[in-house]
């Protein structure tokens, strides 16, 4: 890119920390609770530097008591505060799902919106670095299935900052899923996609809109986070072979931005959905179903899907690589889609 225009590049984690910083600066009701969010700055860097700036009062390390401190966010929100809570790995949701889906997500409805839950839950998702079955999941659909929460999964540093600011200021509960590999951490695989242009200061990216990450005419590929990244790589390869892919970065797991997807299908007439989450009852099914219900006559070929087959994420690299879709699987699938 041009070095003349002054641009600023940040990693995903820095972009998140900047969003939290801005939100905490302009609203003293915002505070953070989580494991290792203070001195450590969050295991995945989401709160880097904030403890030095805001201290123990507003950047609070917690015991390993997810039900306790995420449940405490409910009580604090009831008093008008705006807690940000970090669930270190999304895989740990099993010890605290009740507070999330029966309370944070339902209290506003059960109270007829008398009680609001302006809580942002940030949590790390994703595999690809051999952290095995209990530390590598995405669980996008686990959250997407349950009512009362907005669920987002931004891909770029730009969107991580803008959507996190939107989430913190939203008066509804928001589950904010960030992908470890897209945080740009020094101790993980350094990929280009984890660094990107991030505007200074305050801006918002809407929580309910997908983004056309690359325009194309032959086939629509829908992905999110690392699958968007892989899809874009695949699109480059396929372009050389004369296949033009439109890549949609879903960004919002719930609600799904139907319009953006349907518009694209209307243009390409072919759909591939790619997901790093489990296949059954997942994103691939949700979006394939959308096509079957609202774009049936636009489809010129059966919908194709790529997702983690319904197995736990295995540890050994060769096994994990086999179950998580990548650019090569996508290239292959698109070719099959074009031939069918």
């Amino acid at each position: 890119m041009s070095t003349k225009t002054k641009v600023r590049k940040l990693t995903g984690s820095k972009a998140m920390a900047e969003a939290i910083d801005i939100a905490m600066q302009d609203d003293k009701e915002v505070f953070v609770m989580g494991e290792d969010v203070a001195k450590y700055g969050g295991i995945f860097g989401s709160t880097t530097g904030l403890h030095e700036k805001y201290g123990d009062e507003r950047i609070m390390d917690t015991p390993i008591s997810e039900t306790g401190f995420i449940g405490a966010a409910v009580g604090a929100a009831g008093e008008g505060m705006r807690p940000i809570v970090e669930l270190m790995f999304v895989d740990f949701v099993g010890v605290v799902l009740d507070q999330i889906y029966n309370h944070i997500a339902k209290i506003p409805y059960m109270s007829g919106q008398a009680v609001k839950m302006p809580i942002t839950l940030i949590t790390a998702v994703g595999g690809g670095y051999s952290d095995a079955a209990q530390h590598s999941q995405c669980l996008y659909a686990t959250f997407g299935h349950l009512p009362g929460m907005k669920v987002v999964a931004p891909t770029t540093p730009h969107d991580l900052k803008g959507m996190l600011l939107a989430a913190i200021r939203d008066d509804n509960p928001v589950i904010f899923m960030f992908h470890k590999t897209l945080q740009g951490l020094g101790w993980m695989d350094q990929i280009d996609a984890s660094i990107g242009e991030v505007p200074d200061g305050d801006y918002i990216v809407p929580l309910d809109k997908a983004k056309v990450a690359r325009e194309g005419t032959d086939v629509t590929i829908v992905g999110v986070q690392m699958m968007t990244v892989e899809a874009l790589k695949a699109a480059k390869i396929l372009e050389k072979e004369g296949i033009s892919c439109e890549v949609i970065d879903l960004r919002s797991i719930k609600p799904i931005d139907k319009e953006t997807i349907l518009t694209s299908i209307g243009k390409t007439h072919r759909l591939l959905v790619v997901d790093e989450d489990y296949s059954a009852y997942g994103i691939t099914s949700e979006i394939a179903a959308l096509a079957a219900q609202e774009a049936l006559y636009d489809l010129e070929a059966p919908v194709k899907t790529l997702a983690v087959p319904d197995v736990p994420i295995p540890y050994s690299r060769v096994l994990e690589k086999f179950v998580i879709p990548d650019e090569n699987n996508i290239v292959e699938a698109v070719k099959e889609l074009m031939d069918s």
Binding site: P63, G68, V74, E79, M110, A114
Partner: protein
């Protein structure tokens, strides 16, 4: 300890209000459920957990609270809500599923919310405890002396949320009081079959905090230890656990066959009714006259009856309202 007349009369009024409210609910709940009982039928469908007999647990501590203090309650919430001062009309209307209810009919009897008195309850055992911890955390952050009280049953004291909440409250020295209402049963499971210690005040030792045990549903003792706990919390000295041996006169829920307990049990408990005990004390010590109680009871019945009338005469929500209020 000297309990002043005003407080005792307040406790009597709240307990009596709760008792009468529950007695009317017992009847209202059965409407449309006879001759064949059907939990889903009638103007008040769904599960119904009544609190007859447990009034001292609620009144004995709420007498020390104001609207600024938070209360969270479990699935058996009416006596807690009434002692906290929740407006009976929207509360009753909610239980009848009316649009005028505190949750526009979306919540029901296990899900009553009142911002004015900072009251909430829920249907998941022990889940209200972290909510009280969070309210207390907000109170502390804001430098107020407001406290948060979490009511739970003795069965709930064996849930993980109990441990996580008390550790957090003690660790952060938060103004939290946990009131364990030991009515001897968790549905059909006796306390001795669920709890590895005789009483949950002993569990204060696991968090370095005080525990108090109130025996035999004693309203006076409940008043006394609650004052200690609330004062301690207001002074920023941290949480307290209070366990009170209380009575469950009725089944776990209405319709409970209660085959697991001796029918004599409830009869025996009713003979020691705590509301009557308070009344008797006030009369004996000449702090109130029969006449005073007549007047007070009239006022109580009127208030409750008006709430039921309000509920019964209110409109049902429009079916399509079901789609509103998920997000604001």
């Amino acid at each position: 300890m000297e309990i002043d007349k005003k407080d005792l009369l307040w406790m009597y009024e709240k307990m009596k209000t709760s008792r009468y409210f529950e007695e009317r609910m017992e009847t209202a709940y059965l409407e449309g459920k006879q001759p064949v009982f059907n939990i889903g039928a009638g103007p008040v469908p769904g599960e119904m957990h009544l609190s007859n007999g447990q009034e001292p647990a609620a009144a004995g501590i709420c007498v020390h609270l104001t609207d600024n203090d938070t209360v969270t309650a479990p699935h058996r919430p009416h006596h807690n809500a009434i002692a906290k001062g929740v407006d009976l009309k929207p509360m009753t209307a909610e239980i009848f599923g009316k649009v005028t209810g505190s949750g526009k009919g979306k919540g029901g009897h296990m899900h009553l919310f009142d911002l004015k008195t900072k009251f909430s309850c829920g249907g998941i055992v022990a889940a209200g405890m972290p909510h009280a911890v969070g309210a207390a955390l907000a109170n502390k952050k804001r430098g107020t002396d407001w406290v948060a009280v979490a009511f739970i049953g003795e069965g709930a004291a064996n849930a993980g949320a109990f441990h996580e909440s008390l550790n957090l409250a003690a660790l952060w020295k938060l103004p939290v009081i946990v009131v364990v209402e030991d009515n001897a049963w968790g549905i059909s499971v006796a306390k001795s079959a669920s709890t590895s210690v005789p009483s949950n005040d002993l569990r204060g030792a696991a968090y370095g905090i005080p525990g108090h045990l109130v025996k035999d549903n004693d309203p006076f003792e409940m008043y006394r230890v609650s004052k200690l706990a609330v004062d301690r919390a207001r002074k920023g000295e941290g949480p307290t656990i209070i366990e009170i041996e209380t009575y469950r006169y009725l089944g776990h829920f209405q319709g409970d066959p209660e085959t697991y307990r001796d029918p004599e049990e409830a009869t025996g408990l009713r003979a020691k009714d705590p509301i009557e005990r308070v009344k008797a004390y006030l009369l004996e010590s000449k702090l109130a006259t029969e006449k005073d109680f007549e007047t007070l009871d009239k006022k109580i019945f009127k208030e409750v009856d008006e709430a039921y009338e309000f509920a019964i005469n209110s409109d049902l929500p429009k079916p399509e309202d079901a789609l509103n209020d998920v997000f604001c």
